[in-house]
């Protein structure tokens, strides 16, 4: 027989509608930032793929693009949890829920940092490749 379960930890989403403009603007701004980040990733990757297909894999611009993608991934890994935490603190400062003690939690993941590390490694490889390519092109 199993003992009575006890809730040790839990997380949930609090959803509500608001007419408060600052809250609506803040959530829209978050969505906009996400769209901009995705658009930036797509554009950087598109440039890398285009140059590879043109037969210029070790173009210095590819190394720069991969480095920027890595920085973006690291930024998302830091920025998103921080923004969610700050937003939650702000909202919970305004919204009172009867009978439940709510506290914002700072939750992060290692995944964006691992992705950033991988991209920086690739950027270093492509940077070295670009140096070798420059030397090769000036080898007569």
């Amino acid at each position: 027989m199993l003992s009575r379960p006890a809730l040790v930890d839990g997380s949930a989403q609090l959803r509500f509608k608001t007419s408060r403009r600052p809250l609506a603007v803040a959530t829209s701004a978050g969505g906009m930032f996400a769209l901009v980040a995705v658009a930036l990733c797509v554009e950087l990757l598109r440039g890398v793929i285009a140059r590879v297909l043109e037969g210029r894999p070790f173009d210095p611009a590819n190394a720069r693009a991969l480095h920027r993608l890595g920085a973006l991934a690291a930024g998302i890994g830091i920025g998103v949890p921080a923004a969610e935490f700050l937003m939650a603190r702000w909202v919970l400062g305004i919204v009172q829920v009867q009978g439940i003690a709510l506290a914002p939690a700072l939750r992060g993941s290692l995944t964006p940092f691992l992705v950033a590390l991988l991209l920086e490694g690739l950027a270093a490889v492509f940077r070295h490749g670009a140096e070798l390519e420059a030397e090769r092109s000036l080898t007569i």
Partner: protein, 68 residues
Amino acid sequence: MAIYTNLDVVLAQRRMSLTELSERVGITLANLSILKTNKAKAVRFSTLEALCRELGCQPGDLLEYRPE
């Protein structure tokens, strides 16, 4: 880079143009120009061989070391 080429000197001595040399050795005019203006980072032995053959000279006639 402390290694300089004297390709222009040897070409003048042989009264040959860069274009003619390019056709003879099978290297593009652009690459020969890079070599002539000392912008090259490295020279293949096969290139040196072709240049010496067509210009009738030694590698030492084409290359010079000037300590910086």
